[in-house]
Symmetry: C2
Subunit: 334 residues, 2 copies
């Protein structure tokens, strides 16, 4: 790999001049500029971004912390971020936290040690205190899918509780009184919030909520299936299930059929997130739209504006969960 030094030698100029034509940081005469550019081409010169980063203390990289690299949710989130950043030739470095405090911490440490210019964080288990402290460091951070009052201006989130409330209310409005909940892992904030929203709507309607009516799944298909197994084994009587995400809903629908219960007809199923496949299931999934891709984009736009000073048209953003009615929640009164 050719270095800037070799380019300067070949072009017969100092290496400072080479640096200048690369960065357009000062005026360079047309003649020398051409000489330098030719030399770069001849040598196939590619700047070493590690050296640039060390010398300039910026990296043109923004670090992302997600829980895992697979799954539609994080896929959409990363895609949203990437699509915005790429436009401005910024790169992303991604680490996975795996729902484990150590990994989340290590991930953030790594991103910071790589001189990331900013961090976009989806942390599951890190404490609010830690994040607050982190926000006071020299690397700007933006927090996705979480609300921390002390640093609200850094948080892009959506009211999970209200979303779940909406979902449950829709089911109740459709005439259901025996409604169960399949939640996500309880140590996850969003899962907790969705449980609360569920309970809130139930209480409001004067419907009983028993802890045994809530199954703790894993946010994956298998969690939905396990929930059905559990509910059936408990011989619970129910006509509807509010699921904490679409994956759980899909898993539940499939397992329900194994028990000859037809989702959408005998059992109403409510999803959450409105993942891309939600309108391709059968029955099509009624769910709560969670615009994670747009939220990712917004986070990226903030970074672009705050850190890279690229003028961004940032829309007046307030993300609200909204009900998307499709076919999986039948109206009992009809």
């Amino acid at each position: 790999m050719a270095t800037i030094y070799e380019v300067s030698k070949l072009a017969g100029v100092s290496l400072a001049t080479v640096s200048r034509v690369m960065n357009k940081t000062a005026n360079v005469s047309q003649k020398t500029k051409l000489k330098v550019e030719k030399a770069m081409l001849d040598l196939g010169y590619k700047p070493n971004s590690v050296a640039i980063s060390l010398a300039s203390k910026r990296s043109d990289c923004v670090g992302i912390l997600v829980t895992q690299l697979d799954g539609m949710f994080f896929g959409s989130m990363m895609n949203g971020i990437e699509s915005e950043l790429t436009k401005q030739r910024k790169h992303l470095v991604i680490t996975a936290g795996h729902n484990v405090e150590h990994d989340e911490r290590a991930g953030i440490d790594f991103l910071k040690s790589r001189n990331c210019d900013a961090l976009i964080i989806h942390a599951e288990v890190l404490s609010d205190e830690y994040l607050i402290e982190l926000s006071q460091g020299d690397t700007p951070i933006y927090i996705l899918n979480r609300h921390i009052p002390e640093i609200a201006e850094r948080c892009i989130h959506l009211d999970n509780q209200y979303g779940s409330y909406l979902a449950t209310k829709h089911v109740i409005k459709a005439g259901h009184t025996e409604v169960l909940h399949i939640s996500g892992p309880r140590y996850r904030k969003d899962a907790q919030e969705r449980i609360i929203g569920f309970k809130q709507a139930m209480y409001e309607a004067g419907l009983p909520v028993n802890e045994s009516h809530i199954f703790e799944g894993d946010y994956g298909h298998s969690g939905g299936a396990a929930a059905i197994d559990y509910f059936m084994q408990q011989r619970l009587s129910f006509t509807s299930i509010v699921c904490a995400n679409d994956h759980l809903a899909v898993g539940a629908m499939a397992r329900l059929r194994d028990f000859d219960k037809i989702p959408g007809e005998q059992i109403a199923i409510m999803g959450f997130d409105d993942m891309p496949f939600a309108d391709c299931t059968y029955p099509k999934l009624t769910t709560i739209r969670y615009p994670i891709r747009e939220m990712g984009k917004l986070a990226a736009d903030y970074v672009l504006k705050d850190v890279y000073k690229v003028q961004q048209k940032i829309p007046p953003s307030s993300f609200e969960p909204t009900l998307v009615i499709r076919d999986s929640v039948l109206n009992l009164s009809k």
Copy 2:
């Protein structure tokens, strides 16, 4: 951020010694070692990996090029890679190529300029020649989902054509004679191969293949829906569709229902990839298993073994597409 120099000052040793205790690269007396460790703790010292990378010419990072960050396929692939690498405290830097030559090139350039120790590449549009040349550079590369004879030892792939052949044959065996194909974008190698496999099985069975029986989709749900719209508009008579991936299949199944054609009963649907949701659709999707996660893991294992000299038990790997029979292809003869 504290530097190694400050640590050395606080500990009263030279910075070389500090480097030694960090890297256990030479013997250090117990006493000074403790002094240094205390100093590091007191200062909350975190090594700057950019500086390490510049000085040592390694980064403990492996670069990944994928087409996009969302979608189950790439999710599984990244997850497989990450799960192996994380075990050995190696990180990954991910770039997206977007099916565009410029982006793929730029992605690779970026990864190399970041001093990545190795590259795992899923390139769509880069030429074989380019990749062959790249493989001769100083950064080891591993190529996923593609076969280039000249550098076969760097390629981890699977026989797409044979997989598609298997799929089509299964449908034919089930008694179908009017079978259509929904393909992926034709500029993609795997899509081309799957088309060939489809045609091969059809020819072998003496069944007619008309180019109008093949619809070029986008590998997403919408492509599947668009295909059905097209087929219906053409007033084609058909009882089965071989889809180039599961997303297309799911999209097609949903759209089929809009036309009151019941997938799995009136129309046989064959998928490809066996994505995690394939056993949660209704009807459950008969498909070809494409073990992309395992292939990602293998690529990571190669890197670990070849580049990082970490002993890996690498199984005698040859990935074969296999038929996964579920419920979406009905047997006409029964």
